[in-house]
């Protein structure tokens, strides 16, 4: 008993003399709503979790008498790697250790937390589970709801921290002195099922992060957001150029759009904006004409490839000079090339290889292991890299117009133009399969919204479906950034 009291005194002394001034001096701290602690004697603190600094900041908020009787919930295996850290954390913060993973049958995962709560102590919980992406809140795990439902009437204090994700981000070991802003919300009493409680607490903390006072403390985001890129895919004859034009015109009513198709057009208020053509565009046109008139596949491939690379480069040129809010691309150089790679290898490639090709083409090799077989299989990737061509862009939205090759063939025949060398029924069928696979891969891997639209219908109908899909995606994206609206 005596020993406990002494160690508690030492702990408070270390906090008051060492930790708190250090946190205040090195990282500036501004706190709003400190009086919210005054109204609760026993409480659970919930907070967003972005950095290891979070817990120190939370402890610097506590009233002195609460330092020794407040326990954060922490994962044991993470901190037990180093003995000194394990001891220091254990002594200073007195965490309730838990282990990740599925609990054994019959044992209560909350046993430790409940024991502390029952003896009148307080608990700090990060309901997101682990440190998420910097500055973003993840959805809460259900654990907080399951715990709170067993303690009706226990106040829960939501605390929103902004700044630690910059001072000590997850991706860096370098601690930098930068300001932290803390907003303490009013204590919440929750009732209902555990799912309702989790949802309610999540909305409280999100609300706190979007409140007026939080906004005043946020930095202004000065970086320009890149334009939304929409790629319209489809085999030849699917009408993708017409559809992409429809989309570009339709969305130019709200924002400036750019269409990269056989030609490059800028639209504003549904009208074409007259601009000086870019030098790259002129070159591309010549090469693209050459590809169209090619008599054999060999003569076709290289100009087509150059054309695709130039098309990709045009994206950057357009961003640089015109900076439209949306770029609609007739085909996507990256996905086209991947599909062609799939097509021209003798055997059909599996999804894993397909994803790897995309990584190579977009310059994400770091995600691959250096001894990955893909490097030896695709020797071309090295040239790509050394020529710095591996900067193909992954579109934000993909629309794939699905069409039977037979229909495509009749449509191509109707156009009355000279047939391009690769436009045979059998090739188109395989290309279609390849596109389907690529679409599946990017949707699963990179979470890119893909809409597969039946191309058998009229072009107007297809465009309408595509436009609805894009509007929906934009709305969802905006909703993610700004849930208050």
């Amino acid at each position: 008993m005596m020993r406990e009291r002494i160690s508690s005194l030492i702990r408070i002394a270390v906090h008051v003399i060492l930790l708190r001034p250090l946190v205040k001096l090195i990282f500036g701290v501004s706190v709003l709503g400190r009086d919210n602690f005054d109204f609760a004697d026993k409480f659970i603190i919930i907070s967003n979790h972005n950095s290891h600094l979070d817990i120190l900041l939370l402890f610097s908020l506590l009233p002195l008498s609460k330092i020794s009787i407040t326990h954060p919930v922490a994962e044991e295996t993470y901190f037990s790697k180093s003995k000194i850290i394990y001891f220091l954390v254990g002594f200073l913060l007195q965490p309730i250790w838990i282990t990740r993973g599925k609990p054994e049958k019959g044992s209560d995962p909350f046993a430790g937390i409940k024991a502390q709560l029952d003896s009148g102590h307080n608990v700090i919980i990060f309901p997101e589970g682990s440190r998420g992406k910097p500055g973003e809140m993840q959805s809460f795990k259900s654990g907080i709801g399951r715990l709170v439902v067993q303690y009706p009437g226990l106040p829960i204090i939501p605390v929103y921290l902004s700044g630690p994700e910059r001072s000590l981000p997850k991706a860096s070991y370098l601690l930098l002195p930068l300001w932290n802003h803390i907003i303490i919300g009013p204590p919440q009493i929750c009732t209902g099922t555990h799912k309702e409680i989790t949802r309610q607490l999540e909305s409280v903390l999100t609300g706190l992060s979007h409140s007026e006072s939080a906004r005043q403390r946020q930095r202004k985001a000065t970086s320009e957001s890149p334009p939304l890129s929409v790629a319209v895919l489809g085999i030849d004859g699917s009408g993708k150029s017409t559809i992409s034009k429809h989309i570009a015109v339709r969305f130019s009513a709200e924002s400036s759009t750019c269409l990269i198709s056989d030609r490059l057009d800028l639209y504003e208020n549904t009208e074409v904006k007259v601009v000086q053509p870019l030098g790259y565009e002129k070159v591309r046109k010549v090469i693209s004409n050459y590809a169209k008139k090619a008599k054999s596949l060999k003569l076709y491939k290289i100009p087509k490839m150059t054309e695709l690379l130039l098309r990709n480069h045009l994206y950057f040129e357009v961003r640089r000079w015109y900076n439209p809010e949306m770029i609609v691309m007739d085909g996507s150089p990256l996905l086209n090339m991947t599909a062609w790679a799939v097509l021209y290898r003798d055997r059909m490639l599996d999804e894993e290889t397909c994803a790897k090709i995309i990584m190579l083409l977009t310059g994400r090799e770091e995600e691959l292991k250096p001894d990955d077989p893909i490097f030896s299989e695709f020797k071309e990737s090295q040239y790509f890299r050394s020529l710095k061509l591996n900067n193909l862009i992954l579109p934000d939205i993909v629309i794939f117009i699905d069409l039977y090759p037979e229909t495509a063939n009749t449509r191509i025949a109707k156009r009355g133009e000279d047939r391009q060398v690769h436009e045979t029924s059998e090739k188109l069928a395989r290309l279609r399969e390849a596109y389907k696979m690529v679409c599946k891969v990017i949707r699963d891997r990179w979470d890119i919204p893909v809409s597969i639209i039946d191309g058998e219908e009229s072009l107007e109908a297809v465009s309408a479906v595509a436009e609805r899909f894009i509007t929906e995606v934009i709305r969802r994206k905006e909703g993610k950034n700004d849930p208050t609206d």
Partner: protein, 290 residues
């Protein structure tokens, strides 16, 4: 004998001024009022604490109070700009250049002090940023942003420290003159619609106060009367230029005058008057009077 008397009178004045500011600040904290003048008083108090420590011990101690002020200003600035993950090493370098530069002031090595940040830190930061990671996009803006903050918050404020090493009252002279201008700008700075007219009127209105004050202080500062009067006319102009240019920086950082917290533009707002005035006055004195 006379010298000793003057020094004791000046010490007493400094102590009285500091104590007055302290009392006002304590009253302010208790009454929990928030306005421009209130936060301004805090920073003036910091300057006077710095001068007092310099008077009691030596300027070598006093400058470290200024170093702390530079640190808080720089920290606030970095909290406001966009930082890429790989700039972190460069920012650490920027922080480390604070003790580097103030140490050079302490050992009174002028030649090195004047090139410390403009040459050595300036060269070191791109290297540190390049060591930080592989991302190349945005490097120019990052390096520019880091350097800019460093120049304003550390190098420009550091000139006040070197001024302290000449004579404490020379620094006090600067702070008093700047304070007079700031108050005038606060009350009159937005009367007219035209910004240029505002600036001109503020400058004109400052002159009847700053010139006599400068002239009166010339016995303690050791600046000859003529130079005192010139400085008294020059400092308001520099303060106004400082305000005007920093306002644009502040606006771009998203700081608006109605929401000023520490860490949200307050420190920069209170130091902006010194960004131009301190270096120019320092070099004026160094050129003409030493």
């Amino acid at each position: 004998m006379i010298n000793a008397m003057f020094s004791s009178v000046s010490s007493v004045t400094l102590i009285t001024a500091t104590v007055c500011l302290l009392v006002v600040n304590i009253v302010r904290i208790i009454s929990k009022k928030r306005s421009f003048l209130n936060s301004y008083l805090t920073y003036t108090l910091v300057f006077f604490i710095c001068f007092l420590t310099a008077q009691i011990f030596s300027y070598k101690v006093g400058i470290w109070v200024l170093a702390l002020l530079s640190f808080t200003a720089l920290r606030e600035y970095f909290s406001l700009i966009n930082i890429r993950l790989q700039d972190r090493l460069g920012i650490l370098g920027a922080y480390l250049s604070i003790p580097f530069m103030y140490y050079l002031i302490q050992i009174d090595w002028y030649g090195m002090f004047i090139i410390s940040i403009p040459v050595y830190t300036f060269l070191a930061i791109p290297l540190l940023v390049s060591l930080g990671g592989k991302e190349t996009q945005g490097t120019v803006f990052s390096i520019g942003a880091i350097d800019f903050g460093l120049f304003l918050c550390v190098f420009c404020i550091g000139h006040i420290g070197y001024l302290l090493s000449f004579a404490i009252w020379k620094a006090v002279f600067l702070v008093i003159n700047v304070a007079i201008c700031d108050v005038i700008i606060y009350y009159i700075g937005s009367r007219f619609r035209s910004k240029t007219l505002n600036c001109f009127v503020c400058w004109l209105l400052s002159l009847p106060l700053t010139i006599p004050v400068s002239w009166l202080l010339c016995y303690w500062t050791g600046i000859p009367p003529l130079h005192s009067i010139i400085l008294g006319a020059m400092i308001p102009a520099l303060v106004i230029i400082g305000h005007r240019s920093t306002d644009y920086v502040k606006a771009d950082l998203g700081v608006t005058d109605d929401v000023l917290f520490p860490g949200r533009g307050q420190i920069m707002d209170n130091l902006k008057s010194f960004f131009y005035a301190a270096p120019v006055m320092f070099h004026y004195i160094r050129y003409f009077l030493t």
